[in-house]
Amino acid sequence: MEKRDFESKNRYAISLVIATVVFLLIFAISYSISYFELQRVSNLQVGVGYEIFEDKLGHSFFNEQICNGSSFSKVSQDLSFQGRIVDDLERRLGKQNENVLLRKQFYSLIEIEHFEFVREFNQKCREDLNTILFFYSNNVSEIEDSEEAGRILGSVSSRNENLIIYSFDIDLESELVNKLEKKYNVTASPTAVINEKTKIKLPANIQEIEKHLQ
């Protein structure tokens, strides 16, 4: 058989160029979406932070009633959503990504602010909202235990409506988180501090956690 000619060798070169351009373009678009999402989350965090400060100031400085306001539940819901967004950002951009760490620092700040708000809310309004301060680590040696403990706490949360969980990365460069660790004498991860009284290292049992809830 005679050697068969190619229909057009140029077509291969053109196809290669087009495929490469499209390939790179898609990556550029996906990273743009990630960037815009990060910006959006940043704005959202600022908004939630502002709302918490506003509510707290309204109560402490202007003596506004916090018990019958609806802002508490909204802020709590926003905080929970933000936690999940930070979680997604970690998955998407990596746990060591600079932007993600920055968002986590700010998120930790809002969590502490919210935690203080809840303490006051419980006192002034005679509510019995439970709180768990969950200290975890993304270090290779501890991440598996931390993720398992996170899953268990997630289940506890879904079973108890009056429970708020605040998660803190103990490796985060945040002075406030470090102070919080010292305050509750947290030395290892994962650790759960329930209602500021009970400390459980390596939380592994739902019932064990629930028996300390009010």
């Binding site: 058989m1 050697k3 196809s15 495929a19 499209v22 996906s30 990273y31 959503f81 967004i85």
Partner: protein
Amino acid sequence: MEAITVIVYISIYLGLFATTFYILSFISYSKKERVFYTDEELPAVSVIIPAYNEEGAIEKTLKSVLKSDYPDFEIIVVDDGSTDRTLKIAKKFASRKTRVFHKENGGKGTALNFGIKKAKGKIIFTMDADTTVDRKSMKNMVRFFKDKEIMSVSPAIVIDKPRNILQRVQYMEYLLGLFLRKAFASIKSIYITPGAFSAYRKSFFDRHGLYEIGNPTEDLEMALRIQYNGYYTENCPEAPAYTTAPATFRELMIQRRRWYFGLLQNLWRYRKIIGKRYGDLGAFVIPTALSSIILSVIVIVYMFFKTLFEVKDSLIFYQSINFDFPSTLNVNFYFIERVLFLFFSKPVVLFIILFMAVLGFYMHYASKKIGRLSGLFVNLVLFYLFFAILFGLWWVITIFYIALSKTVKWRDL
């Protein structure tokens, strides 16, 4: 970066490159001038219909051929030792134009060869007994034979009245194949002719032999033999042929196992085709097809298990935020945002959307050639949902078969 991620992106890049190349080839083909037989020049043709236990379909098949607007044709029905009423029904159509023969059961290849030996036409149509054709299909296909290098012409195979999910998925697979078949034809690289309905130049059988008996995919072997000997197969999308698709998972599995086993077996046999000597076919089309199969199977199997675990994780996640599953219709803002962000920030998802758009273009081409396609949206959704996993499963099982040195025959069916 994980090895699987690298494999996924290599597959995507290869897919982009091949898709671009085929689309460009298709565009360039449509601008080319070709030679066709006029109505007066159309040669005599023989339509060979091997039949084995086809009492439920043979009548419809024969009626559809008899309605053809082709000026000069004969029909040769070869009953391959049926144990039902196939022969009796076929004999009702016996005439000067329709000859009916009976032989002992020996498989499709033997029945086709029997028919070819009896044929008087210069062009041979091979046709399954459960397939029907449009009035104009034969004429449109035979016109291509004016080009002396063309030894075979394939039609536009369409699944007839798909009913269940499996048939609908196959319906879409066949429709999407219409564009690719034409793109392959544009670079003279068709290496598969459908067994359901195809046309061959009789002189090729005379010079290069009849169908190979015992080959699990004798039609594919013939198409490769044509290429191997330096000839081509054309494609005529304006010639619809409607065939019945396997309706059960088992039937479909057996069919695909036979096809894929046959593909690998025949490609190995004609492996000399691979390389520059055979132009686009040997240097690009077959190597791309083989590497796509390997990469696709790895990616599909991996993605299947990854998706299972991700769904499990997501369920835990939605439970943890007290997501109200029973009221999912009442879609909430958090849910939408999370899904949008999680999906659209992943390059793979954007690539999938791009490929879906390409498939949409292929669909548009198919609907232009076949006419209005009913239930397109539902079928397309089913195709997106199930095809990849079915494709992976068929190949994995075929590979196991080969690894265990099992053989696949026609009468496994």
